[in-house]
Symmetry: C2
DNA sequence: TCCCTCTTTCAAAGCGCTTTGAAACTATTT
DNA sequence: AAATAGTTTCAAAGCGCTTTGAAAGAGGGA
């Protein structure tokens, strides 16, 4: 405690009341006279009284904090997708008087951190990021009795835990079919890392569409890696300079999609006219131009869009709800549909798509 | 505390020792027999004992947590620069057993949060992000007695507080002179928001170079906004389509620099050959291609480079050091020089830079 | 007036840890 | 054997809050 800060004892002395009454008055208990309560609140504000967090935690057993574990690894590092999610969650925490506790650790230490969170009662719950198939964290957290919510899902038999996810499979199926409808047949899939569960679903959606339309899959058009800008650039450059290039790209994030755009720029190709691109758009805040006059202009990318920030908000709400709910409450599971927005990066198939074409006059 | 978790009392009963001795044994006090200590540690591991965080905080007055306040506003939201910094800081915290506590609040509530942090002793120190000129947070934190370190500086008379900053002025002067040396005379400055202190310094560096070389400034070439991708795109498009376009761009971050690249691609211009670009590169992790074979390849952007993640690490170290240091210890101040790396986006001035040029064969 | 109920306040006992000051035990010296 | 010093352990008192169970005060009915 900062030196000289006023604590409950001192405040109650000043008021000529017992600590009990003061505590109750401030915490909204009904059995305290409204006149007394007003007096207490006034004095608390005047003396700038704030209850010690650790003392309150110790007494109540509640930490009023939510933990987020961030793997230190290269992939799934603190990336823009992640931090936008956090920003959304943080808003909700602040609103409900919770703290957000972030721990950056090597992946192999993640389980330890959860155990630590649970037994040291540092947090009341955690958000699980980037679930893999059959992620060991779910059974661990269940056995620890620590409330949690998963951003994403672990497998199709969404079993006994709460999650919030986007219907990635349907979104990618729909986007693929949209490109088919535009006449495209060779569509590159620039996917995220396939160990991440959501990437697998996206691929399945892409495959679903091919199967439904009877278009054969070409393994040479499917890629998976961290969703960073240079990845998109590298893949696009390689494909577009190679033989039999694709006429469209389906990209897992706007970051690699920007890389694809860059590669096309270098080759003199124009998005929409020469090559079509659809990106999954998490509505990342740092890519949005400050809205001039309110509404958003016509989007650049044709995209499957779902705000990851909004997902962060909702995940936080679900978690707080579960923390207050009885332990046997049924898990909450939400599947969101991505919005499909048409921007400037898609167009009908052109007859001749050569490489190093002269820029159209 | 999780139900059934073993606490100090239980552990000491099991061992047949007093809580005092067990606590001292685990905390490395010298006055405990090494044999006893070994026995205690073994039992603690076996029973999976972990001291309660809040109880320890309450008893010691130390929170073992560092606070970061993130304004909810549009600019200086959780952006990639910010989160890379956090990742670096988080590594250091984890290493020293500290927690990172993040609070997302509206800017006008920031002072309240600091007061709260201090009087509720939730954190032992804070990191101040994005200082403005004469930032009110510095006197506030000083008066609260809460240790802090500033990422950046508030004014040139770097007074009585600890900070870590990059020599932005020199970096931008040097980059501008580099472009002058290449023959460029009309150089656009795509700066960050000028209320941020660092943006002012960058502008001054740009102006220094002009003055030193006797090149007149053109206010029509200077811009300031949030460092997002569409900003660079918008400015570049406007300038390059206008009369008397610049031949080079000096950009405050790789994000808007990517926007500039995109605009150039749309106009059929090639970076380096047609237009030169130098960006300030914070070494953002999500823009780095995974290093194949260890070393980093030839960089795309010619850039002033300084790892913001490394800055996060160092800032955390400085803060932890200050927390342990006596209150009257002199502040720590570090000024880093940015590295200048030559990539593919700069080249000598071309005679004729038209617009909508045909892509070179 | 007395008794009963309802409202309002309080004293005291934790929550689980650290830390002070003292006690018990050992080893060394007189 | 007694005194001294050094080592090792402990009982007890907090840290600042919440919460239980009880006491005091107020109001109403007999």
């Amino acid at each position: 405690m900062a030196r000289g800060a006023v604590n409950l004892k001192r405040l109650s002395q000043v008021l000529g009341l017992s600590p009990t009454t003061v505590s109750r008055a401030l915490n909204g208990f009904p059995e305290v006279n409204e006149k007394t309560r007003a007096r207490v609140i006034e004095a608390a504000n005047r003396l700038n009284y704030r209850p010690s967090a650790s003392a309150a935690s110790l007494a109540t057993g509640k930490a009023c904090a939510i933990g987020h574990v961030v793997p230190l690894a290269e992939h799934m590092m603190i990336n823009p997708h992640f931090s936008d999610f956090m920003a959304g969650a943080g808003e909700v925490y602040a609103q409900f008087g919770y703290e957000m506790l972030i721990k950056v650790v090597a992946r192999e230490d993640e389980a330890d951190v959860y155990r630590d969170f649970a037994s040291r009662s540092r947090v009341d719950g955690v958000v699980v990021h980037g679930p893999a198939t059959n992620d060991p964290r779910i059974p661990l957290l269940n056995s620890l009795g620590l409330p949690f919510v998963v951003h994403g899902r672990c497998d199709d038999l969404a079993s006994d835990y709460s999650w919030l996810d986007v219907n990635n499979r349907r979104a990618f199926r729909r986007a693929t079919e949209f490109l088919f409808d535009m006449g495209h047949r060779r569509i590159a899939l620039v996917n995220g890392i396939e160990t991440m569960n959501f990437a697998g679903r996206r691929r399945r959606g892409y495959e679903d569409a091919h199967q439904a339309r009877g278009v054969p899959l070409d393994a040479g058009l499917i890629f998976g890696a961290d969703m960073v800008e240079p990845y998109g650039h590298r893949v696009a450059k390689k494909l577009l300079e190679g033989d039999n290039p694709p006429t469209a790209f389906l990209v897992a994030s706007v970051l690699p999609a920007m890389g694809v755009i860059r590669a096309m720029g270098e080759l003199g190709l124009k998005a929409g006219a020469d090559i079509s691109i659809i990106a999954f758009d998490d509505d990342l805040s740092f890519l949005q131009a400050p809205s001039e006059g309110g509404g958003r202009g016509i989007p650049f990318f044709t995209a499957m869009r779902s705000s990851i920030r909004e997902a962060g908000r909702r995940a936080a709400e679900i978690l707080l709800e579960r923390i207050d709910a009885p332990a046997n409450a049924p898990p909450r599971q939400e599947l969101w549909e991505a919005e499909f927005v048409i921007g400037t990066t898609t167009g009908p198939l052109r007859e001749t798509v050569g490489r190093h074409r002269v820029f159209p006059a």
